[in-house]
Assembly symmetry: D3
Homo-oligomer: 166 residues x 6
Amino acid sequence: MVSERQHKMPAHIDSDGNARMVDISCKNATVREAVASCVVELGQEAFIALKEGNAPKGDVLATARIAGILAAKQVDRLIPLCHSLPLEFVGIDFELSEKERTVTVRARSCTSYKTGVEMEAMTGASIAALAIYDMLKGIEKGITISKLQLEFKSGGKSGTWRKNTP
Amino acid sequence: MVSERQHKMPAHIDSDGNARMVDISCKNATVREAVASCVVELGQEAFIALKEGNAPKGDVLATARIAGILAAKQVDRLIPLCHSLPLEFVGIDFELSEKERTVTVRARSCTSYKTGVEMEAMTGASIAALAIYDMLKGIEKGITISKLQLEFKSGGKSGTWRKNTP
Amino acid sequence: MVSERQHKMPAHIDSDGNARMVDISCKNATVREAVASCVVELGQEAFIALKEGNAPKGDVLATARIAGILAAKQVDRLIPLCHSLPLEFVGIDFELSEKERTVTVRARSCTSYKTGVEMEAMTGASIAALAIYDMLKGIEKGITISKLQLEFKSGGKSGTWRKNTP
Amino acid sequence: MVSERQHKMPAHIDSDGNARMVDISCKNATVREAVASCVVELGQEAFIALKEGNAPKGDVLATARIAGILAAKQVDRLIPLCHSLPLEFVGIDFELSEKERTVTVRARSCTSYKTGVEMEAMTGASIAALAIYDMLKGIEKGITISKLQLEFKSGGKSGTWRKNTP
Amino acid sequence: MVSERQHKMPAHIDSDGNARMVDISCKNATVREAVASCVVELGQEAFIALKEGNAPKGDVLATARIAGILAAKQVDRLIPLCHSLPLEFVGIDFELSEKERTVTVRARSCTSYKTGVEMEAMTGASIAALAIYDMLKGIEKGITISKLQLEFKSGGKSGTWRKNTP
Amino acid sequence: MVSERQHKMPAHIDSDGNARMVDISCKNATVREAVASCVVELGQEAFIALKEGNAPKGDVLATARIAGILAAKQVDRLIPLCHSLPLEFVGIDFELSEKERTVTVRARSCTSYKTGVEMEAMTGASIAALAIYDMLKGIEKGITISKLQLEFKSGGKSGTWRKNTP
């Protein structure tokens, strides 16, 4: 992929098993989108505090939403081999299940660029969930964050992908 | 605006009153520019120290200029719903009024992108003014920063806008 | 103040008018607090949107509060000559005046350290106000941020200081 | 807790349901430690690539370890209401299960300060797992990160806590 | 270059000797590449520890590679007048000379944008070398980093440039 | 060193050759200082531009000084295994040699903490030198940064160390 470049790296410093970014110079910019989600499993007391708006550190979901949006914009600093890219949208939403005492965090990210935005969606969902944990850990330290996964991606050479759901 | 996307967010996580970035995927990239300014109101002693170059922490305006430029490049980290964008220029300039004992800070920012650069200019001016405060607060804690406002913007769907001046 | 150090900087690189951090090695750690405020002057339409919770980008004050808190924790990156310090508290609060169509932003910061937290309060208030601007600029570009100033500080060698109020 | 302060915030800007940092000014500095973990569930192809060291972007675990360590040091930027604190140690370790085709990520963090380091361990484990995802997603997009949870904490007023294990 | 702009900055705030970013609005986006290198001069003991993989803080080159890649993506925050740009590739490689007891660090960066990536390559090489120093300074404090220089650049108006080698 | 901890890491995730931070929990806080330097080798044209203050991007040394100070405060983000620490002072100074056409950059850093500040001085000097390069590379791409090295350190268990000078 580097062969059309004017300057060849000497062979002896060729990478072999070493961490390396993908060179996207020759890729096409296309519209790309990704959706990721995870599930925050709360106990009864934490769920009620969240739902009734009296968590010890205040408004849980508004804070977590901002945390997730800001984190998605910092993916290039957090995930070593990710590219800096012009993120055109990132949104974080929450779905509460009273029966399961869970919050499902869902992040969607979009760009028109040469590489995908899966990590932006995954990281946005993850940090939003961690902010929920932070704001409720005074009530319950055993909160668990599970099933962080990609749900959907579109765009790029590999095209559309959708998580199989049972 | 999301309707042409392949993946619909489920209705129940539709945002309602929640913080959300504007989705700029469908906007056109145009040349965009913004100018913002604010006024740092110094007392007599601080103004003289600034003007004569013997402020307690050294060169006030050179430091404030760099602070403003760096801050404009970090707007996406500071202002939660702002987009990361390829800033093509940011400049910070200062105008001293001996009569008013003020420094007017003016920031100009430019891009060729899908969204405007008003926040880059506003934040650049604001942080430059705060750096002036920081370097002179040893002399006078009562320094006030006023009239932080947009003066001008151009580009994008809403076109050119200019602050009314009395 | 540097005289008790073992290693002297050669005289010819002594700073003269150049930007320099204050050396706080020999200062005492004391409890320090600061309060700063500014006023966001909205027009009628923007004020109503804020108050009624239908601003174009969603929940204005929750977003601005988080922006201010995060900015206060990043002062050492934003204001060149500020020290990195263990910030023990930062809070951002808002006061709406229907008559004036203003939001007063107030930030309070605390530490037990060798230098003051004025810049943390000033920067927290400033960035919170800029986030308000960002979320309402779709309605009204002429919003002005005024009277950014220190209200109060305590602790350290210079002790307690309070803004004169007319 | 604020009552011994010299400067009272006016009652009308008292927070009510709003996001707020905990004021730790009056807390004692004690030795604090936290351990958190999560499980990265790989498919067969991704597990083999990881184990045999031929993942598409190179050395997975060395990269993930650095990502986790760096993220733990940035928790105050990522989790809005967390304090900046002097992190004395953070370590990331990995345990591979060939049978389960999983990597268990474990993060340990330590400080001698006024507040705990649970979020540093949780965030370190989470970002290390996301870096593993990033380096293997070219092989398998369906990798899931599960069971992100606190295992242990010690220090502070609430003392030692240990996750119940079945 | 600013003359085609709609909004003129008033003459009296025209910069004169002051720091300023280059305005790249009118430049063309072209493929640009840069290679930079530096030499880390180790003593015997440090070189052996590096080569045999028993440095006090662990895997030196894997850590330095990640440090260099991450730093190259942060150049706009580190070098005040550099532009934020969409870096399409950055790679860090190392070449050990047993005879000289040196590590040559080489960084290559690429973009398709309006300005060059020399600083990304220079900064990537420099921070990778500093990370090597950090991981070996427990063995030998006198390690020196030398000959940090640009080797090659291509693209843009000034075209291809190559370091003269004796 | 970890033996007095309450929670043991399971043996099977014990690090072996992997990158690891030093655990400084049990170290003593002492006054620590470090001085580092490097030499920027300019050609004739670049040296004259620097000296006469007409470099293409403006005030070289004021900009480089701020860049170096800011970088020293960000060492924990840049050098993966460095600790976040309360830096009490960092200063950057420059010495011009007309005969050699060089700028010697010297950085000094101080803390009262459990670990040393060598990397803060080394990184501050390095980034200041890179900023000089950035501001003069329009004149001369072949500028070289050499002899980045520690000159002096004091404090901590290993005590005072001074570079041998020929």
